[in-house]
């Protein structure tokens, strides 16, 4: 079915509205429905990102001739091919097994960030926790300097110095 508004795209949003007793049906494409506030853009199109995950990989080097997409996690058996279809990983270790492949995806879904900042479990030792907090403070300092918030920057610098 064609979009009623632009008469170009396929209608994917079908609405029934009842105004003053009259029932009207509206068939719109995603773009037109969004413009009229009848539909919303849902999240980051993860599937699109995932489809590029496999195509944009550099050649495997050395004697390891297994194609990237067939490389499997030794622990759970997850492959990149399967991940790109199901969007879920198989075990915590996958983040290390597929780190190179996942990094660009992680960066794009998290606004360029690649380092955790925030809560750490109590099982994490004090030294590691310190490193995590320092990374976070440095990142905040960058933002403050970029926005010319010098008071905040000074406060953050003090915090970093005290932690080190």
């Amino acid at each position: 079915m064609q979009c009623q508004n632009c008469k170009n795209q396929t209608a994917t949003i079908h609405l029934t509205e009842i105004t003053n007793g009259n029932r009207t049906e509206t068939h719109l494409c995603q773009t037109c429905a969004q413009k009229q506030g009848l539909a919303v853009q849902t999240q980051i199109p993860l599937n699109e990102l995932l489809s590029t995950l496999l195509s944009a990989q550099p050649e495997a080097t050395g004697e390891d001739s297994t194609p990237q997409e067939e490389k499997a996690c030794p622990r759970c058996g997850m492959t990149l091919r399967r991940f790109s279809k199901e969007t879920l990983l198989g075990c915590p270790q996958d983040y290390e097994v597929f780190e190179k492949n996942l990094l660009p995806l992680i960066q794009r879904t998290h606004n360029g960030n690649t380092e955790h900042c925030g809560k750490t479990p109590s099982s994490v030792g004090p030294e590691q926790d310190k490193q995590i907090q320092l990374a976070a403070l440095r990142r905040q300092l960058d933002v403050a300097l970029r926005n010319e918030q010098y008071e905040t920057a000074a406060r953050l610098r003090d915090q970093i110095r005290n932690l080190q």
Binding site: Q34, G37, I44, L46, C91, N111
Partner: protein
């Protein structure tokens, strides 16, 4: 706790007034966690799922606050739907397979799903704009659970989640917004654009997929890595939401000043239909309830309390209707019973 007992009552927390609740219906904060040494959902056998239940259930039931446990795998399909309509479990948990459960606070403002997409997903709710309170609650519960179990954590990537989109803090902060003013004044696309600029996702609060019904929207963060939990929350409570509230208030004011009769007509007709309809779909009901809710807040309808409207958001949904009727209803019977429930709730006397 028996799901059937819930169907005739509103969710206890939704009716307490909260800050800006004429625009911000509710706040939610969710944390995602996985156990160290266990596979994620796609690679988990039923046996391993049971082991996870055996680890997490006692940890949840021995908190300093009382929770009730429901075996989601064992209850009837309609009961699962009922829990989802009350936001106690997610649609994914309804559709899920194998051993899985949920622990629920009596006031229904906290729930913890076990074996959903992640091993543990804890969420706290509050009426109005109260994200800080929600964060404090889940965070404090997370602390208690962490004393008993080890969560999968990576020094660089933080808390590890089945989907990389939840990586890091595992936090999802969201508010349910009612924005009829922006919609009627043709400014809703500005709200969408602003959300996009801030890396936030907008979804219809009701309905499936990307469709929105009745000017109710859910706004949530997408970035979970590299931003501390408190920062995500303060972004919402200090920057984004106050701006939206301000725009929506201004839009409502514009409507009252520039086209009072049109607005009044819309609101009163909506109330008229809701009070008299004999058959009504949930979609039509939500559209009309949105207008009535606006009418109450801009002082055009005096005799109806907002709590009645908020309650109807739950009670007009399919599982609530069927549990209340005590039998399964086909769509026509549902439309008829829904109309009856709404008439009763909104009747003038």
């Amino acid at each position: 706790m028996n799901p059937a007992d819930l169907s005739s009552q509103p969710s206890p927390w939704i009716n307490q007034p909260g800050p800006d609740f004429e625009i911000v219906i509710s706040s939610r904060v969710r944390l995602a966690r996985n156990l160290e040494g266990y596979e994620f959902k796609p690679c988990l056998s039923a046996q391993r799922q049971n082991e996870i239940l055996e680890i997490l259930t006692p940890a949840l039931l021995s908190l300093d606050q009382k929770l009730y446990y429901i075996d989601v795998d064992k209850i009837a399909a309609v009961e699962r739907e009922l829990l989802a309509e009350r936001y106690l479990i997610s649609p994914a948990h309804v559709r899920g397979k194998g051993p899985r459960g949920v622990a629920i606070a009596e006031e229904e403002n906290f729930s913890a799903m076990i074996n959903e997409e992640d091993h543990l997903r804890m969420q706290a709710y509050a009426p109005g704009l109260q994200l800080k309170a929600c964060l404090d609650r889940v965070n404090q519960i997370d602390d208690q659970i962490e004393k008993k179990v080890r969560f999968a954590f990576h020094p660089r990537f933080g808390y590890l989640t089945a989907c990389p989109t939840n990586l890091g803090t595992g936090i999802r902060v969201s508010v349910m917004l009612h924005l009829p003013g922006l919609k009627m004044t043709g400014q809703i696309d500005k709200f969408f654009a602003a959300a996009r600029d801030c890396n936030l996702a907008v979804r219809g609060a009701f309905g499936e997929g990307s469709e929105t019904v009745g000017d109710f929207y859910q706004l949530s963060n997408q970035v979970t890595l590299g931003v501390a939990e408190a920062e995500v929350v303060s972004n919402f409570t200090e920057k984004i939401v106050p701006k939206i509230v301000e725009y929506e208030r201004a839009a409502r004011q514009t409507l009252i000043e520039q086209s009072p009769y049109v607005v009044d007509d819309k609101i009163q007709r909506a109330l008229g239909v809701l009070r008299n309809a004999r058959l009504i779909s949930s979609q039509e009901a939500l559209v009309l309830l949105s207008q009535v809710r606006l009418g109450v807040h801009i002082g055009r309808i005096f005799e109806i309390q907002v709590s009645k409207i908020n309650n109807l958001f739950f009670h007009l949904q399919p599982a609530h209707l069927q549990m209340r009727a005590g039998k399964s209803l086909d769509p026509d019977q549902r439309d008829s019973f829904r109309a009856q429930v709404i008439r009763k709730a909104l009747s003038p006397n």
